[in-house]
Structures are given as C-alpha cells and as structure tokens.
C-alpha cells in the first residue's frame, strides 16, 4: 500500500448551457410553502461553521432556508481609515491582516497597485519571486480551504491531514520571509529579501510531494458516495448570478467563465509562465471543489517553472524616489542610507492620481483603489475584497437550500471574515 500513485480517471466534461443550469438551479432549490411556519435562528458569530465571525439570521421552514439576513462587521478594524494615516510602505502589514491565510497575495496586490500609481516596475527576479509566493499562498489557502470544506460536511480527519501538507508551505514561508502567516514580504518595487540558500531544494521537494498527497486525498474523498451526494447539485450559482453578485475566483470559474486575472490582466511574472486556467461547468459545490483541486496541481507546476526560469538580478528596483533601499545597501553606501532616512521620515514621492488594480488572490479578485493627492500617504484606499461580496451573496446562495447544506455552500465560496470586514 506504499503510495499507489494512480491517475484519477477524468470523467467526460459535460457543459450545460446557461438555461440548463438555471433550470437545474430552480429544481435544486426547494420552494417555500405558503403556510410555512417560520423559525428564526441566529447563526453565528460564534457558530463553528461560519469561518470566522460572520453572522446570518436564518428563517427556517423545517430545515429549508426561507430567508437570510447577513450581518458582518464583527472584525472591522477600520483598515481604510488607518491607511490614510500611514505611508504607503506602512500599509503593507495592514494588508497582511486582510485574508490572513494568503497574506502574500494581499501584499502583492497592494504593492502592484502602488507601483502602478508610481509608474515603476519591479525587477524580473522580484516578479518571479512574487509569482512563486502567490502560488505558495494559493496552495496553502486551498489546502486549508479543502480541509475546512470537507470538515463542514462532517469528515474531521481530512482537516488535520490537509494542515499537515499545508505545513510545507508554512515552513517555506518561514524560511523565505521569517513569518508563517503574516508575511509582509512584498515591497513597493520588489520583494523584501532574496531566496535563501537551501530554499530551492526544499521547495522542489514540497511541490513533488503535494501532488502525490492530493491524489491520496482523491482516494479518500473524491469518489466517496456521501461527499458526492452532499456536494453535487447543491449551491448552483450561474455565471449570470456571479456577475450580479460579484462572485469571483474559483466560484466564478466553476460556473464556466474562463476569467482569471493571471491571464486576463497579467501581473507579476504571469505573462512569462505557462499554465492552464481551471474551469468547470456545473456551477455547484462539487465543481468548485474540482476547480480548486486542479488549481493546486497547476500551482505546483507554476512554482516549478518559476524556479526554473528565475533570472538573476536584484530583487528591489533601484529607484531613489519610490523605493526604500535594501538593508545591505543601507549598511554599505551612504547614498542608500540617505535615501532610507528620507523615505522613513518623509515617505515616497507619488504623483497625484488614482488607480484601480485587481489581482487574482486564491479566493477571488482583490482590488485596491488608491487615490493619491501627491503626498506620501494615500488620500483614500478602498480595498475591494472578494469575501465582502461573497458574504453579501448569502441570501441568493442560501435561499431554498437546506440547513445542513448551507455550511457547505458557504464554505465553497471560500470566505475569510478578516478580508470581509477589513
């Protein structure tokens, strides 16, 4: 029984049209009786399956959801207000705390937005490190998601073994930047540090192990009749609904829309990397599961490509007006030291204007809207997080489903309340 690596048989892809999906959705949702006696229960904020401190008031008819009223804000930290009082550099740790499972993706989104505003570009090596970090975040996030999602359906062991594999990524992050969760690794104009010695070997070992483990997960859960029964045909959300409720990320791709900002609006080193966008067409919970599983395989391939093609060179742009110089330069040259002092005490020089930059984070499209008035601090920073809109869509996602399913459906759109409440 030692690691039987068997390729799972790809089932023939059925591509239902939008009309078919709508019909299926109509059928899967149970109609509420006219004379329903409604029982109102409050789910959350300390309910174990709301993935944080989300609260939703449910009107139940038996076990069928009649109406839902989502309530957010239990984790609101006023991040947008705080950002107006900090220089662009100091905002980076704040963005860690958005979706703390994939912090680097948020760091990067913010830095890309600021770079776009400043009109600078990160050096190629930094861009490859960013892409690699982004995919590491994706693997870590999807593994966490997978464990929690299957646990929502009742299988508890799965969560623990997913955490075990996630530990590879956590260790690698610790090696790369010194923190396991809140990385603060991206910098305006590059990344904080270069890859350390021994990182590449560990990374290659990890991306060889993870696909093997993913196939083991397939043996464990993918064909399980209970999981199939629970996941197939529930929570159907068509591409039209996704657009109306701004559902992005894997949930959108599971509805048959081939939209991935890594391809559509490339950032970091993605234009130079070959990868496939995982798309499924059934728009249900199982399709979202498949999309994420395939994305993890793709991520491993992308990381391997990044390691292969990574060019040599600096990891921080040499730009005296916008970039805080690297530590070793500060120790070495007086010009860099002056630059360091100027940046810390006065901040970078930013042209007035406004930019909107979206990146594809593991859980959806995260966008930063930055308004600059020419000062060292943003005049307005709006963080448009996917989870915010995923939480908002709960009435459309839940109504007509059963109580036991809504935890699975809510999990399938991947919500992190830190990101939702900001």
């Amino acid at each position: 029984m030692s690691a039987p690596v068997e390729e799972h048989v790809e089932q023939p892809v059925s591509r239902p049209t939008l009309e078919e999906l709508k019909e299926r959705k109509e059928k899967s949702r149970q109609r509420v009786r006219e004379d329903a006696e409604v029982l109102t229960v409050s789910m959350g904020p300390h309910h174990p399956s709301t993935h944080g401190v989300f609260r939703v008031d449910l009107d139940l008819d038996g076990e069928v959801i009649v109406a839902t009223r989502p309530e957010i804000g239990n984790l609101h930290r006023g991040m947008e207000k705080l950002a107006e009082y900090r220089t662009y550099h100091q905002v980076i740790p704040l963005t860690d705390r958005l979706h703390y499972v994939a912090s680097f993706a948020q760091n990067e989104g913010f830095c890309e937005a600021v770079e776009k505003l400043m009109g600078i570009e990160a050096p190629p090596r930094a861009r490859f490190i960013r892409s690699m970090g982004h995919e590491m975040c994706r693997i870590a996030n999807h593994l966490l998601w997978l464990g929690i999602h299957i646990m929502d359906f009742g299988a508890i062991t799965f969560q623990q073994i997913c955490f075990r594999e996630r530990e590879y990524m956590m260790d690698l992050w610790e090696m790369l930047c010194g923190a396991r969760l809140t990385h603060s690794f991206c910098r305006i104009g590059g990344v904080a540090k270069d890859i350390p010695d021994g990182f590449e070997e560990k990374m290659r070992a990890a991306i060889e192990t993870i696909p093997i483990r993913l196939r083991e997960y397939d043996r464990l859960i993918r064909n399980n009749r209970i999981f199939l029964k629970r996941a197939k045909g529930i929570g159907i959300f068509t591409s039209e609904d996704c657009a109306a409720w701004r559902i992005t990320g894997p949930a959108l791709r599971a509805a048959g829309v081939e939209r991935d900002l890594r391809k559509n609006e490339p950032f970091a080193a993605y234009p130079e990397l070959d990868f496939e966008v995982a798309v499924e067409y059934d728009a249900d919970v199982y399709a979202r599961y498949l999309v994420r599983m395939r994305e993890m395989y793709e991520s491993c391939k992308i990381i391997a490509q990044c390691l292969d093609r990574m060019p040599d060179g600096p990891v921080l742009a040499e730009d005296a007006f916008h970039v805080i110089p690297a530590k070793k330069d500060v120790m070495r040259s007086s010009a860099a030291m002056i630059q360091d002092f100027v940046h810390v005490f006065r901040g970078p020089q930013v042209p007035p204007g406004e930019v909107y930059k979206a990146v594809e984070t593991p859980h959806g499209e995260l966008a930063f809207y930055i308004v600059s008035d020419g000062g060292p601090k943003p005049q307005r920073l709006r963080i448009s997080t996917p989870c915010y809109y995923h939480c908002q869509a709960t009435p459309a996602l839940f109504e007509g489903e059963m109580l036991a399913d809504i935890v699975g459906i809510f999990g399938s759109v991947d919500v992190c309340l830190g990101s939702c409440d900001r």
Binding site: V41, P48, E63, I150, G154, M402, V407
Partner: protein, 334 residues
Amino acid sequence: MTQFIFLIIKAAIIFFFCVGLAAMLIWGERKFAGWMQSRVGPNYAGPAGVLQTFGDLAKLIRKEDVIPDTVDRLVFRMAPYILWVPAAVTMALIPFGPMDARIFSWSTDLVVARFDAGIVLFLAMGSLAVYGIVFAGWSSNSKWSLMGALRSGAQMISYELSMGLSLVGVMILAGSMNFVTIVDYQAGAFWHWNFIPQIVGFMIFFIASIAELNRTPFDLPEAEQELVAGFMTEYTGMRWGIFMFSEYVNMIVMSAIMATLFFGGWQAPFESWNVVPGFVWLIIKMMFFIFMYMWIRWTVPRYRYNQLMDIGWKVMFPLALANLAITALIVTVK
C-alpha cells in the same frame, strides 16, 4: 439463594465492565483518531495517556454545572440518565459464556438474564434511549437543540424499523428470540455463524446501528458543523460528560449484540479454540466492531437529513423486507 448471589455478582461484573470499557474507549477513540490524523493523541496522563478519561472526569466533575435559566429543570436533569440506563439494561441479555458453567463447586449460567423475548427487549430499550435525546433537546429551550432532538426522533423511527426487520432473519433461523438459544444455534466453527446466511441482514443491522448510535456518517442530532453539537449544546460539566459516556456504553452494547447475533457470541471461530474462555472471544469480537465504528467515524463525511431518510426508507427498509422474505422462503422450503 446461591443463584441470587451469583446474579448480583454477574450484574455487578457486567455493569463495571461496561463502565470501565467505556472509559477506556474514550481514550482509545481519541488515541486512534490522533493516529489517523498523523498526531500522537493523548499521551500525558499515565503511560500512553490511558488515564486521560479519568483526568477528564476529574475536570468535568470540578466544573461548574450551568443550568440555563429558561430550561425545564426536571427534564433537563433527567435526560442524560435516560440516555444510558436502557443501554446498560440491554447488556444483561448478552451471554458471555456457556450455560451451566461450573465455577468451583457451583454451577451457573454465564448470562445475567436468560430472557425469552431478548430481541424484543433490546429493541424496546433501544427505542427508549431516544427519549433521552429528545428530552435533552426539548428541555434545553434552544432552537438548535430542538432541531437536534427532532432529527434524532425522525432518525430513530426510520432506522429502528429496518434494524428490527434485519433481526427477524436471525430469529427465523434460530427459531427463538432468546440470545442464549441464538448463540447455541451458532455452535461449531465460524461457518455456522449467522453472518454467512444473513450477510444482507448483518450489513443492514450494522448501518442501522451506526444511525442508532448517532455516529458519523449518521450523526445528525449532534452535527457540530450545522447544529453546534445539537441536543447537548446547553449541557456543561458532568451532565455533558454523561452524554459522552453513554455514547460509548451504547457502542459497547451494540457491538455486543452484533457479535452475539451474527458472529457466534462467545463461541470461538474453531471448536478446538474453545479452551480460551468465552468472554475473551466476545470481547475480541466486540472490540473489532467498536474499532470499525471508530474507523468509519474518522473517515467519512455526514449525510444530509433528507438523504438519511431516503436511505432509511427507500434502500434499507425494502432490502430488509426482501432479506426477510428470502430467509423465510428458504427456511420453509428446507
């Protein structure tokens, strides 16, 4: 008079055996779950953590016993005991050795109650246990708990039926409802055991017993992820501990019943192996089923409420009926 003393002794042995084994199983399940999840499990209290349950017990007893303001106090306090007393009663029916066994100069039956309608009593007691859950859920005065209780009631009704029907096959074969007679019918080597002619009945009984025990994949009344532990949400301290405990007592009873009815009870798999005392074989068989329960629990997800009903009524019930009809037919033809 001697028989009466023996009865008391046997009952005490069975009772303390159940309690002690349940305590060990709580540790065992946690340890086994830990192993399956690539971690060590409890290992601080005693060697390999075997005293973990007693540590928990000390903690639970010392904890404040919170009874919420709005509960129905009498029912709320009663519910935990209702859940586990019927299970312990059923244990009296299980024969753990041959009848008229000689102990020194006395002779006694190695069973507490040689009851002619054993299976009926077992089913009746099984149905009583659900009152514990329903009372707990209803008296808690919490919506989540109430939903757990409702689910439990519905689940019991649909699975008790197929469970009972799956046992009728065994009854027809043995021609008795007495556990002792059923074990005697299975005398000989393991190919005389009931699970071979009654494989379908056994599968149905096994699945229905998981549902009766409220364990994954049928643990809907508890359902941490949906109902936040369902009927026992409002319980704290030792009252909650008794719920936990009764789950394991129930598990012991179910596995003992299964071993007795389908796997030859205390009989050894080969006649020559009968030198080992009967209760050892019974415990080995019971442990196997308990192990299976645990293994399944930590592997599979949970069914949804309406799917559970579908399986109960549309799959298991017809199968049990068909099994019964075929068994009856074969026995008649013979």
